[in-house]
């Protein structure tokens, strides 16, 4: 693949998936936009680096989500990042973007997501981003049936948590 084609393809992937990956990372990092931005950038650095080796074994969306979830998972292990997330329990979301009540609920939702186990967090974030169940199964490496069961449980727990503000 020549450089122009590779760049065009990358630009297309960036336009289609960057915002989704950024939101997934922000959800994973308790609403911390700065960390999410760095992690999303790292995801796309990997996408560019490995774009030559990407074969049409799975679809491109699965490929990107796999890189995204694995990057988010290990990103937290960097000591400085972990400290930043820990101290940033209730992120400051831009007030001009969301009405106050919505902002509060969103903060609460982020905090409730943090209560889930690592795989649960990533599964529900992909679900919220509209990733299909078979694709989530293919990203995580579990059966579709297992995804359904886990999502069902997470939905109940998450709704309860936000409803009763139990964080």
């Amino acid at each position: 693949m020549n450089r122009k084609n590779r760049t065009d393809e990358f630009n297309e992937l960036f336009d289609r998936y960057y915002a989704k990956v950024f939101r997934l990372c922000r959800g994973y990092f308790n609403g911390n936009s700065a960390v999410a931005s760095d992690a999303a950038q790292e995801v796309f650095l990997k996408v560019w680096e490995h774009s030559d080796s990407f074969k049409q074994e799975s679809n491109v969306s699965t490929w990107i989500y796999r890189i995204a979830v694995n990057t988010c998972l290990m990103y937290l292990r960097k000591a400085s990042t972990a400290r930043e997330i820990k101290t940033d329990k209730f992120p400051d979301l831009p007030a001009e973007t969301y009405p106050a009540e919505q902002e509060e609920k969103l903060k609460l939702m982020y905090a409730c997501i943090q209560k889930l186990d690592e795989t649960g967090k990533l599964i529900i974030l992909m679900m919220l981003e509209g990733v299909s169940y078979p694709e989530i199964a293919s990203v995580v490496g579990i059966s579709e049936e297992n995804v359904r069961v886990r999502i069902h449980r997470i939905k109940i727990n998450l709704t309860k948590c936000v409803q009763h503000e139990r964080i």
Partner: protein
Amino acid sequence: MKEFEDLQNLWNKQTETDVNRSPEEIIKKAEITIKKVRQKHLWTIAVLCTTSAILITYFLWFSIYRLQVFALGLGMMAGVLLLRSAVEWWSHVRMGKINSNLTLLDYTEKMQSFYTWRKKIHFIFTPIIYVLYFSGFVIALPELEPYVSKGMYWYIIISGTLFCVGFAFYIFREAKKEIKTLEFLKGVK
């Protein structure tokens, strides 16, 4: 907020986007990173080769002057440091080979196996390296005494000991961090 659908709607209403990033900027950064990684690899190989060459030269030099014991001690110290550096370099290469587009569970398993291997290095290999390094130091030191001033001799003892302690502290901190990562990975199911 009664149903999960409300949460989904709330999620969908998020409009904040990351305007700081552009594909051009990411491509540029990726190419700089790739270049840096290649340079780092070349430097590591160069440092390892140079250290080996210095080691061989030392052995030949001190053998000529009948300071075999000193050469042995120094050789042990330099040799184990070289070996430790080589292990670190190999770890870096091994980590880089873990494909980040595996499924989450496969990726976690590979990472887990990598950190288990690192744990063995920290608990088995590193203490052996330390004992050998310190033995080399103890062997070489008396041989060196007649050839250096009293002040220099004490300087070598103090700086050598401080290096040993400082390096041990650094390795201990890194090992603790990696073991914590391993425990975290074991919890991903």
